[in-house]
Symmetry: D2
Subunit: 411 residues, 4 copies
């Protein structure tokens, strides 16, 4: 007789696709299922309930199927506790550790479902049982694992809640959509993004802007600086290059040697980049340079002037780098992780590298806007399964003035 | 009391997403629904049946909802005949004509469901009732409508069958997927495409190759010519440019003036293109040039030598054009339409314009392979809702030798 | 003894690269040269003169070299008349016909240099000697050749004047540059384009806008309509799709079924496209539809209302098409050719097909602006050798509002 | 009277464009010039000599012009020694330091021209005068500057030798060309690349392969592994992701969870990536894992087995990372710099980040091949001014099997 397990699904599982996906999982993985109870949500707002018996040829196959169903929002009718195993060494997880999704997750400990804190993809879950009144569970990236950490292994006792399709029809924010269309009216879309920023700020939320160097080359830096000054941006995540270009623009009026106003290339302009770095090194860093009056405008200036925190993460293509750049990638990731956890709305502006780094740390519940001129970049960034995301293929140099116009000038 | 209508859904409606989509339609359009009967497919191969009562605030809204449900595979429990109206003039359809999808479609005439022939997107349906034993229905593009044609109008009496998700797990051919990934192993994917071609030929099917000029520039023409010679290609759909480049290659060894073997640019090479056109014009056309021995190799040569029909559709960017090019776009579309209807497998090779033209004429049931180096082109071509399609972002100049190698040399 | 010929170069031949290119031609083609006289332009505005003796192994090689030097601006010291041969048949040129570049060209007839009218790439040159006081020379595309036309053959007696590098330093308009950078400040670049449009209009020049459907999808149509209304656009070159989208927007508020303001997709919206076509067919065409009051806004409306002529060129991917669409590609090319000849500034907006068609007909002296979100499209369009061209990789949906803002609102 | 300076140009300065560029520099920067002597290279292999007097309105302008002429290969008739200034602090250069190009460079010290070692772009030049028989000059990146280093400042006493256009006509390796065409025959181009690799190895040269993760996803890893095993690759420069994917493929047969042979996605496959990292961490690193027999095939395996050194440079988007990954970007750059200096031929395979990092360290004299499916990536990588470079827009998953086929199987 084939091994069998009973699982339950509940919620708007039909139009969210959950039910179709779960049936698909069983079929694709060579199992079979029998629906035992099915209570359909007969009205628009009613939830659906489905209980089914899943069986497979072997216990391991069944376990894989059940695990996969878990990842899609099903729960076992008769759940067991999660299994825990101590990490054998620093940065080494137990062999069969559970690797997280970016959806809200719960682990069962002594019969209770414990909410996993700081949900993030591709992490281990560590359960802390001592010293606290109630047990706590949180994610840890592999390199942060300490010897002895109690790590969740296997598939049992874990529940994941993939986001549901919102009830209220159309919205510029797409639901779990990977694709991206450039055939959308740009002005209207920018209007929706401006609304999302304004709404987030009204609700006391936190807006994180992830910025690539093209923000400066394309002439958008002034407008981003304005958004920082006016309080629409709560944190900046960028690289050494972005900061250098932004400061070069203040010191010399150029970005990578081109005058941002006149588009002329002053001879020697290509040296402004490296001169900017050496100047800021001489000053001791960005903050000191602002304080000394050496930097007088731009995004970095407004960050310092308005206490907007920034992370400059290093990369192997950096010149310099500036003293403010975090050159160790693990340290930089940790700094980015803090920014990501605080953010309610993340706006990714013309950078793949930094956007992927931030995106890796985001739970699926954080709102996301991604703007890039390269459709492949937008597609790649939208593929991470955010519940609410807008992908826009546009020119950052025209996007930013129009966004600032909507937010600041037409206020 | 709100107007109400009862609709039915049947088949693998859960994992094909049909049911979720239908529920979504009602909700998005402001209607409500009550499920009256629901018989779930309890096993992998069992079909599901769902009957629901849909209501809306007004009769027009309800009709729109019902229409939309129809488009997604629902049928009215108590169907009425389709309404027919005579076309008022040549190329002019009645105001409320039904515009087709590319899925199998049926219209109800005198109580019977009549299969719509030559299914194609964005057409009118014309019903012929006289002179034939049974009534017939078929699609007509707008410009082909004759005064007096009986055209289906409104939403009633029309049934559409969107394709179902195949039962058998993984396949390189994706199901109704718009997106495309370049992160797939190229050799394995080419192997699958070779298998699909071989299988189509074994089953007596018809393979249509749609070719852009890049096939020649990239050095792939020899390999495509081999596929034509060996009987793997039953028809070619291309433009004037493709044919000119292919023949230039035979006459001069160059394509757009570059030697395809040595990659040198013989001076005056850029004139080979226009010289080729004038030479073929002098010969009276491609067939005559082959017969006269003026063309001795290449794709066009193999087509003539092996009686593989081709359509060369004109475009406003053509030089010349060759006497064989159909310069009127309506005439060219009609020629392409014939090719598309005959095809069981269509392979789109590095051309957006011609692939869209062919794709416009294809029913959703024709297998599709699309290869282009530009991901946006592949995405756009995959977006047309083929039930079975492979999109591959690759270099046509390496794709074709590897495909020919798999089909011909490793046979 | 090797055959030898003496050629002369004159002008700013050093910093325009002409001299380097000519020396390169001789070396690359296996010839050798001896400089006989060299009078360098010793000051910034002085011209340089160079006379050199070119020799090669054989007379045919020498002729090829000399021909190539001609194409690059060299002239024979002792020029002969051009050779003329009668076309043997309609649309058939003599075997050795001279195929044109897009640079200003002269042919020598009875000892006089005759200016070639309507310079266009890849054409034949026809000389008319009878019935006019002075002989005239003009280009003809191959399909326009009439039996008996006197066609220039061979290489002798032809002089080409490639454009010279402008003397006055930086300008947003690049000189003969194929490449394109997205790393330029968008607002400043749009400012330069606005200046070029305004300047062209002030000088009584003619601005031709070449428009793709994305102008409408992206929400830019209102702004283009404004530019037409305000007199900044003298002619529109587009396809059936552009016109249909623009009119759909007026009739239904949607483009390809998406509401351009709210970005909602009204159900049935995807039918608006085909309904629009059938409606305009019913009206008898765009002009009639405007006169009947059926169309009340948009680019096509403004064209009719302001007597701005338009060409809608057909293509094999058209739905419909509208009665106004020229479905024969040769006829359409001829209509485009007229537009191109009249234009002083051509602005290509998000279309490859129509831009290539227009670009094919332009002399190298017409100013060119090309805006597209796809860098490959911009690169391809800039590769045609315009003496003054701006290529901009941007979002047409943000470009057009900002351009209109600069030209109209900030006037 | 305007300040004046005399400069000289020598070599194939006409057809290399050097002379045109130099005249352009003077004109663009508002100077004027008078040619005093001009000895043209009257034959193909003869060099040209030009001496000119350059003047400008002010001494600073003149100095800028002269500096720019220097950068383009001109030398002062009456050269002075370079000025040296001690670095005021670690990682801080004197204000007016000379920032290098990637061309061969010489500085004048006590009347002698000293060759600058390890030429690299955007560095300072440090002159060492003590403790060695002869003075030495070499480049230092900003962060490597030590307090007291004698750094070259200003423009005097510096000579740069931009590469000359090769004499011998066509070659697949382009000369100083930024652009890239996808309209080239792929098989022939791969043949040229194979020849360049074979030739480099025959001459005892060093081939560095820079690899992105797509090498593995696209199914190319086996073929690259073969090239390593057969001795065609002397060093690998990559990131954590590449190594993880390559090892995942060995451990599980998948890359990012997709089976590279069958293209199926085993459920749980998406966890293979993170499991691979934890497994190698457990083993203590790649070398240990190979020695323990845990890794048995793939690129990393062949590197260890054949003593081919590799650098895995960390990035903020890394999972893990592997213990072998250098997480500090400055350290990683230094490791990459060593690889770059040793290389005679660099092949960049489907990675922008790592290719830019390597490219930053290369002198303009190193041969370069760059293959990527994204034309923008290829363009960006070719823009760095290599004297001999091939850019190819292709699919790495078809490129690598065809390259291996040419090098190994057809040997």
């Amino acid at each position: 007789m084939s091994p069998t397990r009973t699982v339950e699904l509940e919620g708007h599982i039909i139009d969210s696709g959950t039910m179709g996906r779960c049936f698909g999982v069983v079929m694709d993985m060579g199992g079979s299922f029998e629906v035992e109870e099915f209570e359909i949500g007969r009205h628009k707002n009613a939830e659906t309930y489905c209980r089914m018996k899943v069986s497979a040829d072997s216990e391991p196959t069944l376990q894989e199927i059940v695990h996969e169903l878990h990842q899609n929002g099903a729960t076992l009718s008769d759940p067991a506790d999660a299994t825990l195993e101590a990490a054998p060494d620093d940065a080494v997880v137990p062999v069969d550790f559970y690797s997280t999704t970016n959806h809200p997750t719960y682990v069962r400990y002594e019969g209770e479902w414990v909410d996993v804190e700081n949900v993030e993809m591709d992490c281990a879950i560590v359960v802390e049982t001592e010293g606290s009144e109630a047990p706590r569970a949180h994610t840890k990236v592999l390199n942060a694992i300490d010897e002895g950490d109690l790590v969740v292994t296997g598939d049992t006792g874990i529940r994941v809640e993939p986001p549901e399709r919102p009830r209220d029809g159309d919205s510029a924010f797409g639901f779990m959509q990977g694709g991206v269309s450039s055939e959308r009216p740009s002005e209207s879309l920018i209007g929706e993004i401006a609304d999302a920023v304004a709404e987030t700020k009204e609700e006391g939320g936190n807006v994180l802007a992830v910025c690539g160097p093209a923000v400066v080359h394309s002439g958008g830096a002034d407008h981003l600086a304005e958004l920082v000054r006016e309080g629409y941006v709560d944190a900046i995540s960028a690289g050494n290059g972005f900061a250098v270009h932004d400061i070069e623009r203040d010191l010399y009026g150029t970005s990578l040697g081109m005058d941002v106003e006149t588009m002329e290339h002053p001879r020697k302009g290509h040296k402004h980049h490296i001169y900017t770095i050496s100047e800021i090194s001489r000053q001791g860093g960005i903050e000191q340079a602002v304080e000394n009056g050496a930097i007088q405008s731009g995004v970095m200036y407004e960050c310092v002037a308005n206490n907007v925190p920034y992370v400059l993460a290093g990369s192997i293509r950096d010149d310099g780098p500036l003293p403010d750049t975090i050159t160790d990638s693990i340290e930089a990731q940790n700094a980015i992780r803090e920014q990501a956890r605080d953010a309610d709305l993340v706006i990714m502006l013309a950078t793949l590298l930094h956007s992927v780094a931030v995106g890796n740390c985001l739970p699926s519940t954080t709102k996301l806007v991604c703007v890039d001129i390269n459709p492949s970049t937008v597609t790649q960034l939208m593929d991470r399964g955010s519940a609410q995301a807008i992908g826009m293929v546009s020119d950052i140099g025209t996007f930013l003035p129009m966004l600032a116009d909507q937010l600041v000038d037409e206020k």
